[in-house]
C-alpha cells in the first residue's frame, strides 16, 4: 500500500469511489481484489521505472492482469478437472502457464529478483479458520522471497518423499513369461471383444459364449489378405531390418542419410531421389547444382562405398537397371531397356487405317 502511494493518487480515488458505491459483500470482495491488483500494477510500474501513470493506463493494465490471472485460474481448473480432481495442484498451474506461452523456468529467478517490491498483506476482514486436525512434524518456514502473509507450507508428510529403489525385473524367464502372458491376455481380450461385437459361430450348440468364434466372412478379393503381410508383420520387419542394419558397419546408412540431407531440395521424393543419386553419383561428376558445398561431402562416403563393397555395388547396379525402366513407365520416355510393355501406347490413327482397309 505504501508503494501504491508513490504512484499518483488516482488509483486510490478509483478504489475508494468503488467501495463507496458497492453495498453487497461480493462486490466488496471484487473491489478489494481489484484494489490489490491496482497496487500490484502500480508497484510493477514503479519497479519498471515509471514515476507516474495516468489512471486510464493503470486501469487498463489492471484489467489485463486480472484477465490473465483469471485465465490461469480457469485453465488450471480445467486441467485439474480433466484429471478428475477438484483441487488444482502445482502441476496444473505449470501446465497452464506453459500452455499460455509462459516460460515457467524464468519464474523462480523472477521471484527472487533483488529490486522487487514487497507488498504488504491485504487487510483481512475475517480470517478463515482452517481446522487444525492433525499436525505432523514442523512446517517448513517460508523462504525469504515469499511474503510472510502467504499460506504456510503444508505438513511435511504431504510433500517429503523418500525414494526407494527396487531392482527392475531383468530375469529373462520372468520377462518372457510376462511378455507371453501379456500378449496372450491382449489377444484374448481383443478377440473376445471382436467376437462379442460381431457375428459368431460356436463349436458347441449348447454354449455359444465360452468359445466364441468370430464368424467367417468372405472377402471380395481373398488373396490379398492371404498373401500380403499384415501391418503388424510389416512393422516388425522394419524393426528387425533397422536393427540389423545397425549391426552392420554403418557407412552405408550414414552415406544414405547424409546424401538425403545434402540433396538439393528439388529432388522431392526421398526414396527415388536416393536411388537416383546412388545410381548416378559415381558415374556423373558431382557439382553444378544449387548447393555445391555440401555435395562433395555427401559423395565422398558414397564413392567409398562403391569401391569397398562390391556386393553393395552389385545390388545398386541392379537398382540402376531397374530404375530407369520404372521411371520410363512413369514418364513415358524412351528408356535404355526396350520392353514392349513399357513403350507408350500409340495414337489410334494407324489403327483406323488398318481397320478400314
Amino acid at each position: 500500500m505504501a508503494d501504491a502511494a508513490s504512484t499518483p493518487g488516482a488509483s486510490g480515488s478509483g478504489t475508494r469511489s468503488g467501495s463507496k458505491q458497492s453495498t453487497n459483500p461480493a462486490d466488496n470482495y471484487y473491489l478489494a481484489r481489484r484494489r490489490t491488483l491496482q497496487v500490484v500494477v502500480s508497484s510493477l510500474l514503479t519497479e519498471a521505472g515509471f514515476e507516474s501513470a495516468e489512471k486510464a493506463s493503470v486501469e487498463t493494465l489492471t484489467e489485463m492482469l486480472q484477465s490473465y490471472i483469471s485465465e490461469i485460474g480457469r485453465s488450471a481448473k480445467s486441467y485439474c478437472e480433466h484429471t478428475a480432481r477438484t483441487q488444482p495442484t502445482l502441476s496444473d498451474i505449470v501446465v497452464t502457464l506453459v500452455e499460455m506461452g509462459f516460460n515457467v523456468d524464468t519464474l523462480p529467478a523472477y521471484a527472487k529478483r533483488s529490486q522487487r517490491m514487497v507488498i504488504t498483506a491485504p487487510p483481512v476482514t475475517n480470517q478463515p479458520v482452517t481446522p487444525k486436525a492433525l499436525t505432523a512434524g514442523q512446517n517448513r518456514p517460508h523462504p525469504p522471497h515469499i511474503p510472510s502473509h502467504f499460506p504456510e507450507f503444508p505438513d511435511p508428510h504431504t510433500y517429503i518423499k523418500t525414494p526407494t529403489y527396487r531392482e527392475p525385473v531383468s530375469d529373462y524367464q520372468v520377462l518372457r513369461e510376462k511378455a507371453a502372458s501379456q500378449r496372450r491376455d491382449v489377444e484374448r481380450a481383443l478377440t473376445r471383444f471382436m467376437a462379442k461385437t460381431g457375428e459368431t459361430q460356436s463349436l458347441f450348440k449348447d454354449d455359444v459364449s465360452t468359445f466364441p468364434l468370430i464368424a467367417a466372412r468372405p472377402f471380395t478379393i481373398p488373396y490379398l489378405t492371404a498373401l500380403l503381410p499384415s501391418e503388424l508383420e510389416m512393422q516388425q520387419m522394419e524393426e528387425t531390418d533397422s536393427s540389423e542394419q545397425d549391426e552392420q558397419p554403418d557407412t552405408e546408412n550414414l552415406a544414405l542419410h547424409m546424401s538425403t540431407q545434402a540433396l538439393p531440395v528439388g529432388l522431392d521424393s526421398c526414396e527415388t531421389g536416393v536411388c537416383d543419386l546412388l545410381a548416378v553419383e559415381p558415374l556423373v561428376s558431382p557439382g553444378g547444382t544449387a548447393h555445391p558445398a555440401p555435395r562433395p561431402q555427401a559423395c565422398a562416403p558414397l564413392g567409398q562405398m562403391f569401391r569397398d563393397e562390391s556386393g553393395a555395388e552389385k545390388e545398386n547396379t541392379s537398382v540402376l537397371q531397374q530404375n530407369p525402366s520404372l521411371a520410363g513407365t512413369r514418364n513415358g520416355e524412351d528408356t535404355i531397356i526396350d520392353n514392349p510393355y513399357l513403350r507408350p501406347v500409340k495414337k489410334p490413327k494407324i489403327r483406323r487405317k488398318k481397320s478400314l482397309s
Binding site: 529373462y172 468372405p218 478379393i221 489378405t225 492371404a226 498373401l227 503388424l232 536393427s243 513399357l342
Partner: protein, 1175 residues
C-alpha cells in the same frame, strides 16, 4: 473363304508325320475385339490360312466349343456335350466310358476330326487348283464360357480395374477350342497374329512379341497386337487380360512379369530368382531360349498352379510370396523352373501325337530334375526321385499299370493292357487326373533311366539336337515344310538317341515304355561263414496284374568291413539265389577304420553286429535304376548302421522306415545320433522324427536344441536363420504329439510342453514369418487328441469336455479368432485350425457339425482355407453318412465359380467316398445316381478335368457296371460264357413282347445266349467279361437267335435310333441308311474308335448294308422312307415303356440306341449288324 496366295504345298519335308487333315494350316489370326467382364463374354473372329493337300477339298473340320459362330455354310456337332442320351436308364460307367471315347474320337483333332465342319463351296472348289491357299474367316462370340476362358470378377466398389477383374485362358491338355475356333491339336503348327482390344486400364498378355499397343478412338480402349513367328500349335496359345502391374525383369529385359494390383512387391521378390533358372537351362542345353520374350502372369483362381504356353506361363497368384516366407520359396521356385522347362519341351517342341506325350513330359521333368539337383542339392534330388518312385509304385500296385506309350494299331482292338481302368487311355481328355499325374511322374522316371543308360552327356546332347533341329525348322518359311521337325515323336526321340549315343535302349523301352507295371522284389540273405559268401535270395512277385517280371542286370551294394562293394547280378528266368563273394573277413576286436561308399573312413562301434559276419548292410538297386519296390529283410543292427553311416538319403530313409519295426533303445540311439548331426539332410531329419517310437526322449532333444539354456521349459525366441533347424523345430512337436502311453492316451507332459511352446512363441526378433511354425503347432495339438471316452453316445456338451481338450479348444479358438484380425500368409493357421476342429469332432470331444466348415468353404475365402474346409465336410459326409451334406457338395461341384475347387471336391470325394460300390449305404439311391450321371454326362462338358473327375467318383461309388441301386429290369438276357450256348432260363417263358427291342439293340453280340432274366447283380460281371474274340458270326446263329426271340424286331425301332443319331450329329455323313457307320468283321468287336472313324470314309459305308443284308435277310422286310425318321423316333418314344425287353449285354442297354450319338458307340457298332438294319 477366299482363295489367294502362292503355289501348292509340297510333301517332301514331311518326315514321319502324316497329317490327318486334307490341308495344312499356315497362319492364323485371332482377334478378340470386345471383352465384357460384366457379361463375361467375348467376341471376335479368327482367320485361318490353309493350304489344301488334296485335290478336291470339300470339308474343313475345325475344333470349336462353346463359341457362338455366325455365318452359313457350316455344320456343328459336338457329341461330347451330352455323351449319352439324357433319358438313359442304364447307368453303367463302362458303357459311358465307351460312348465318351467314341465321342471324343469324333471330334479329335489328332484324327482329323472336329466339331465344326465347314463346307467348301463348290464354286470355290473348282478354283482350288488355281489358288491353292484358302482363307477361312470365322466370327465367333463367347458367352459365359464354362471352360477355356475363366473370368474372375470380384464384387465390391470401383471400376473393374480397381476390383482386379481379370480373365485368362485355362484348360487341361488341348482345350484352346473352348475359346476360339482352331485346329486344336499339338501337331498342327502355324504362325500367329493375336489382337486383343481391352479396356485402357487393362493389359492383355498373350503369346509372342508385343508389336504394338494402339488406342482406339477416344482412348477408352487399347489394342494389343501380338505376333508369334515361331510355328506354334493352337493348344499352346493363351491369353490373360487384367489390370496387371508390369515388372520388367531387372536381369533380363526380355522377360516381363505381371501380377494383380497391390502385389508388385511380392512379384519382385518371387521373380528375382528366375534369371538363374534361365541361365541354368540355357547352359545345360547349350541352346538359347527359343522365343524372343518370356512372360509370367500370376492370376487368381488358377486352374492349375503352373500352365506353360508358348513364350508365356500362367501361374497361380498364390505362389507369390515375400521375403519373410520360408516354406513357400522353394515350392514357388520349383514351379517357375517347371514352367520354364516346359517352355523348351512342350511349347516349343510339341508332341506329334498323344502317344508321344511321355517324351515331352519326360524330358521337361528330366531337365527340371537337373536344375533341382543343382539348386537344392543331390540329397533333395534323390529324395524327390525316391518320392516319385514310391508314388508311382504305390499307384500302379493299387490302381493298375500306367502305360507310357500306348500303341493303337488299327483302332479296333481293345486298349492294350489297361482294361482294368474305367477310362480309355487313348485320349488325353479321358484320363483320370490321378492317372495323368502318375503318367508324368513315370515319364520322368523312365527318362532318368534312359539317361542312366546312355549317360547324362549323351542325354543332353539328344536334347540339344532336338532343340537345334526345331530351331532350324522354326525359322524356315512355311513352304519348306520343315515344321514337322518341331514335333517330337517317340520314334524321333529314339532315333536321336541312337544317333548320339549309338546305344540300343530297346530292352529298356520295351520294359518300361511299351508295357505298364512295376517290379516287386522280396529279398533275404544268409551269410555262409565257411565259404565267406553272401547268399542273396531275390524273389519277384509277378502274380498280380500290375507287376511285371524283370530280367536283366540288377545292382546290389554290400557294405562290408573293408569297404563298400557293388555287384551286378543278372536276374534270369529261374534264378532265385545269388552268391556274392565277400571281400573281407569278419574281424573280432580289431579296430580299424571302415571305408564307406563316398571314400570316407569312419570309426564305428561294431559291438552290435554279428561277430561272424563282415556284413554291415546290403542295398538292392541303390541307384533306383528300376521302377521297383524292394522289400528287403536284414537285421535291426544293419538298419541302424545303414541309418548312421550310409550317406545316401534314400538309404537313410529306408532304414528309418525299417526301424519302425524295431522300437529298441539301440534304434533310438541311432535316431538321436543322426538327428544331432548338423549336416544331416533336413528331410531325413523330418521323416525320422515322424517315425520316432520311443518315450518322450524327443522332448529332451528338442529342449536341448531349441530351448533356453537358463530356463529349459521355455523355447528360445524364434530365429529361423538356420533353415535346417527351422524345419526340425517345426516337425518335432508334431511327431511328439503322436506319442501314446499304455492307455493309448497322449502323455500329459507332451500336451503341456506343446502348449508351452505356443505360449512362449515369440517372433518379434525374427527375420522370417512364423506362420508355418504356428500352424504346425496347431497340427501338433490336433495330434494330441485321442478319442473321447463316451458313455453310451451322450450328446457332446461343454460340461463334459475333458480339461486337457478344453485347453486345446481354447488355443484353437484363440488362433482362429486372431487370424481374422491378423491373417497369416496363405492363412496357414486357419487351415490348421479347421483340421484340428475336425479332429476334435471326429474324436467325439466336440459335437460333429459341418456348419463351421461350410461357412469357410464358401466362395470368397482363400482357396487353401476352402479346400481344408471342404475336406472336413467330405470327411463329415463319409463318417456321418449325411445325404444333406453330400447334396451340398454336389451342388458346389456344379455351381462353384472356381474350377479348381470343383475339381478338388470331386477328387476328395473320390478319395474318401461316403460309400463304395461294394457297400450298402442309405446314401446310395437313384436320385444321387441320376445327379452324378447328369454331371458326368452333360454337366461338365466344357471342362475335361471335371468330367474325368466325375467319372472317377462315379466309378468309386457305383463301379464299372450297372449300379446296384437301380431297380432291376424285369427281364434280362444274359450270356453264359461257361456254357457258351444259348439256354433259356427255364423259369422264364419269354413273353411275346420281350424280343422286341432285343433284336435292335443286341443282335451284334453273337455270343451264345444264355437265357433271360437274371435278376442277380452278380451276373453283370459275367456279362462284362464276355470275350469278344470268341464271338463268331454266322447266319445260322443269327437266325437262331432271332427265332428264339420269336418275334422280329420292329423296324421303327431300328430306324429311330439311326434317325436321331443322324438328325443330331455329323450331318455331313448323312446319306441314307448306308451312312450308318458300322464295322466289318469281326462283328462283335469293340468298335469304339473305328465307328467314328468310318463316319468320314464313305466308300466303306456301302459295305455294310450288303453284309448285313446277307446276314439278316430273313428279317428285313421294308425300309421306311427317310423322311419318316422323326416320326418314327417319336413313335419309338411312345412305345418304349411298353416294350419290355431283355438286355443281353451290358453295352447294349436300351437307352443307348436312343441317344443321338449312339451310332458310333460300340453298342451301335454292333447293333448296326442287327437284322433290323439289314435292309
Amino acid at each position: 473363304a477366299a482363295p489367294s496366295g502362292p503355289g501348292p504345298a509340297s510333301q517332301k519335308g514331311e518326315q514321319g508325320f502324316q497329317s490327318p487333315r486334307p490341308y495344312k494350316l499356315a497362319y492364323q489370326l485371332v482377334r478378340i475385339h470386345s471383352i465384357s467382364f460384366h457379361r463375361r463374354s467375348a467376341a471376335g473372329f479368327v482367320e485361318l490360312t490353309i493350304l489344301p493337300t488334296v485335290a478336291d477339298l470339300s470339308r474343313i473340320k475345325l475344333n470349336s466349343q462353346q463359341c457362338g459362330i455366325h455365318g452359313a455354310a457350316f455344320t456343328y456337332s459336338d457329341p461330347t456335350l451330352e455323351v449319352c442320351s439324357s433319358e438313359a436308364k442304364h447307368r453303367a460307367l463302362g458303357h459311358f466310358s465307351h460312348a465318351y471315347a467314341t465321342a471324343l474320337h469324333a471330334v479329335d483333332s489328332d484324327a482329323g476330326n472336329g466339331e465344326l465342319c465347314i463346307k467348301v463351296p463348290p464354286e470355290l472348289r473348282k478354283c482350288v487348283n488355281a489358288f491353292p491357299v484358302l482363307k477361312i474367316h470365322i466370327d465367333f462370340s463367347l458367352d459365359r464360357p464354362q471352360g477355356g476362358l475363366h473370368f474372375v470378377v470380384p464384387g465390391g466398389e470401383g471400376s473393374l480395374a480397381e476390383r482386379a477383374a481379370h480373365v485368362f485362358s485355362c484348360g487341361y491338355q488341348n482345350s484352346t477350342r473352348s475359346w476360339f475356333p482352331c485346329v486344336d491339336s499339338y501337331s498342327e503348327l502355324c504362325t500367329w497374329k493375336l489382337e486383343f482390344t481391352v479396356d485402357a486400364a487393362m493389359v492383355a498378355v498373350s503369346n509372342g512379341d508385343l508389336v504394338d499397343t494402339v488406342y482406339t478412338q477416344g482412348k477408352r480402349k487399347k489394342t494389343f497386337h501380338y505376333e508369334l513367328s515361331i510355328p506354334t500349335a493352337a493348344s499352346n496359345i493363351s491369353l490373360a487380360i487384367g489390370p496387371f502391374e508390369v515388372l520388367v525383369d531387372p536381369y533380363m529385359p526380355e522377360v516381363t512379369h505381371f501380377c494383380l494390383p497391390q502385389l508388385l512387391p511380392l512379384l519382385k521378390h518371387t521373380t528375382s530368382y528366375l534369371h538363374k533358372i534361365f541361365e541354368f537351362y540355357e547352359e545345360i542345353l547349350t541352346c538359347r531360349y527359343p522365343y524372343s520374350c518370356f512372360k509370367t502372369v500370376f492370376i487368381d483362381e488358377a486352374y492349375v498352379e503352373v500352365a506353360a504356353y508358348a513364350s508365356m506361363s500362367i501361374f497361380s497368384t498364390n505362389l507369390l510370396h515375400g521375403a519373410t516366407i520360408i516354406d513357400e520359396t522353394p515350392l514357388t521356385r520349383r514351379c517357375l523352373a517347371q514352367s520354364l522347362a516346359q517352355q523348351f519341351f512342350g511349347c516349343f517342341l510339341s508332341r506329334m501325337s498323344w502317344c508321344d506325350e511321355w517324351v515331352l513330359k519326360g524330358i521337361s521333368s528330366y531337365i527340371y530334375g537337373l536344375w533341382l539337383k543343382k539348386t537344392f542339392g543331390v540329397n533333395e534330388y534323390h529324395h524327390w526321385i525316391k518320392e516319385e518312385l514310391d508314388e508311382i509304385v504305390a499307384y500302379e500296385l493299387k490302381s493298375g499299370g500306367v502305360l507310357l506309350h500306348p500303341i493303337f494299331g488299327g483302332g479296333n482292338e481293345k486298349d492294350p493292357q489297361v482294361s482294368h481302368l474305367h477310362f480309355s487311355i487313348r485320349h488325353p481328355h479321358m484320363l483320370s487326373w490321378e492317372y495323368y499325374t502318375m503318367f508324368q511322374c513315370k515319364a520322368h522316371l523312365v527318362m532318368r533311366l534312359i539317361e542312366q543308360r546312355i549317360s547324362t552327356k549323351c542325354m543332353l546332347q539328344v536334347c540339344n539336337k532336338l532343340l537345334n533341329l526345331a530351331t532350324a525348322a522354326s525359322s524356315q518359311k512355311f513352304q519348306s515344310n520343315m515344321w514337322s521337325q518341331m514335333l517330337l515323336s517317340t520314334s524321333g526321340f529314339l532315333k536321336s538317341i541312337s544317333d548320339v549315343s549309338g546305344k540300343d535302349i530297346q530292352p529298356l523301352m520295351k520294359q518300361w515304355v511299351d508295357q505298364s507295371g512295376v517290379v516287386k522284389f522280396y529279398g533275404r540273405f544268409a551269410f555262409n561263414t565257411k565259404r565267406n559268401v553272401l547268399e542273396l535270395e531275390l524273389k519277384q512277385d509277378c502274380t498280380s496284374l500290375e507287376t511285371q517280371k524283370y530280367l536283366g542286370p540288377l545292382k546290389v551294394t554290400v557294405q562290408e568291413l573293408d569297404g563298400s562293394f557293388n555287384h551286378t547280378l543278372q536276374i534270369k528266368e529261374d534264378s532265385l539265389k545269388h552268391n556274392i563273394p565277400c571281400h573281407s573277413k569278419s574281424r573280432r576286436n580289431k579296430k580299424k577304420k571302415i571305408p564307406l561308399m563316398n571314400g570316407e573312413e569312419v570309426d564305428m562301434d561294431l559291438s552290435a553286429m554279428d561277430p561272424d559276419s563282415p556284413l554291415l548292410w546290403i542295398r538292392i538297386d541303390p541307384d533306383m535304376l528300376l521302377l521297383r519296390k524292394v522289400e528287403f529283410e536284414q537285421a535291426d543292427f544293419m538298419w541302424q548302421y545303414q541309418l548312421c553311416y550310409e550317406c545316401n538319403v534314400v538309404a537313410q530313409q529306408e532304414a528309418i522306415l525299417a526301424l519302425e519295426k524295431f522300437p529298441t533303445p539301440a534304434s533310438r540311439l541311432a535316431l538321436t545320433t543322426i538327428l544331432e548331426q548338423e549336416q544331416c539332410f533336413y528331410r531325413i531329419a523330418n521323416s525320422m522324427v515322424s517315425t520316432w517310437t520311443g518315450p518322450p526322449a524327443m522332448k529332451s532333444q528338442f529342449t536341448r536344441m531349441f530351448c533356453c539354456k537358463t530356463c529349459p521349459n521355455m523355447v528360445k525366441t524364434n530365429n529361423f536363420m538356420n533353415f535346417q533347424a527351422y524345419f526340425l523345430q517345426k516337425t518335432m512337436p508334431v511327431a511328439m504329439a503322436l506319442l501314446r502311453d499304455a492307455h493309448n492316451l497322449c502323455p500329459k507332459e507332451v500336451l503341456t510342453f506343446i502348449l508351452g511352446l505356443i505360449k512362449y512363441n515369440d517372433n518379434r526378433k525374427n527375420k522370417f514369418s512364423d506362420n508355418y511354425y504356428r500352424a504346425e503347432m496347431i497340427d501338433a495339438l490336433a495330434n494330441c487328441v485321442t478319442p473321447a471316452i463316451s458313455v453310451n453316445n451322450e450328446v457332446r456338451t461343454l460340461e463334459n469336455l475333458n480339461s486337457d481338450v478344453r485347453l486345446i479348444v481354447e488355443e484353437i479358438t484363440r488362433f482362429l479368432n486372431l487370424e481374422k484380425l491378423l491373417p497369416s500368409y496363405r492363412h496357414t493357421i486357419t487351415v490348421s485350425c479347421l483340421r484340428a476342429v475336425r479332429v476334435l469332432q471326429k474324436n467325439g470331444h466336440v459335437p460333429s457339425d459341418p456348419s463351421l466348415f461350410k461357412a469357410y468353404a464358401e466362395y470368397g475365402h482363400f482357396v487353401d482355407v476352402r479346400v481344408a474346409a471342404l475336406e472336413a465336410v467330405v470327411d463329415y459326409t463319409k463318417v456321418d453318412r449325411s445325404y444333406q451334406e453330400l447334396q451340398w457338395l454336389l451342388n458346389m461341384i456344379q455351381n462353384d465359380p472356381v474350377p479348381y475347387v470343383r475339381h478338388k471336391i470331386l477328387n476328395m470325394l473320390t478319395k474318401h467316398p461316403p460309400f463304395t460300390k461294394n457297400m450298402e449305404s442309405p446314401l446310395c439311391n437313384e436320385a444321387l445316381l441320376d445327379q452324378l450321371w447328369k454331371l458326368m454326362n452333360s454337366g461338365t462338358s466344357h471342362d475335361w478335368r471335371l468330367r474325368c473327375g466325375a467319372m472317377d467318383l462315379y466309378f468309386t461309388l457305383f463301379g464299372l457296371n450297372r449300379p446296384s441301386c437301380l431297380p432291376l429290369p424285369e427281364f434280362r438276357l444274359v450270356l453264359n460264357l461257361k456254357e457258351e450256348k444259348a439256354v433259356l432260363n427255364p423259369t422264364i417263358i419269354p413273353a411275346p413282347a420281350t424280343g422286341n427291342r432285343e433284336g435292335t439293340s443286341n443282335p451284334s453280340s453273337h455270343a451264345p445266349l444264355a437265357g433271360f432274366q437274371n435278376p442277380l447283380p452278380s451276373s453283370q460281371e459275367e456279362e462284362m467279361e464276355m470275350d469278344m474274340d470268341t464271338v463268331h458270326h454266322s447266319q445260322a446263329f443269327s437266325s437262331q437267335h432271332l427265332s428264339m426271340l420269336e418275334r422280329p424286331p420292329t423296324l421303327e425301332l431300328s430306324q429311330c435310333y439311326l434317325a436321331s443319331a443322324r438328325s443330331a450329329l455329323l450331318p455331313s455323313c448323312v446319306g441314307g441308311y448306308e451312312g450308318a457307320p458300322t464295322s466289318k468283321a469281326p462283328w462283335g468287336l469293340d468298335l469304339t474308335h473305328k465307328g467314328a472313324a468310318q463316319v468320314q470314309s464313305p466308300p466303306e459305308m456301302h459295305i455294310y448294308p450288303f453284309a448285313v443284308a446277307l446276314l439278316c435277310s430273313p428279317l428285313s422286310r421294308k425300309r421306311p422312307p427317310p423322311n419318316n425318321e422323326h416320326h418314327h423316333h417319336h413313335k419309338h418314344k411312345k412305345h418304349k415303356h411298353k416294350h419290355k425287353h431283355k438286355q443281353k449285354h451290358k453295352h447294349d442297354s436300351r437307352e443307348k440306341d436312343r441317344e443321338p450319338f449312339s451310332f458310333s458307340s460300340p453298342a451301335l457298332g454292333r447293333s448296326v449288324c442287327s437284322p433290323s438294319l439289314s435292309d
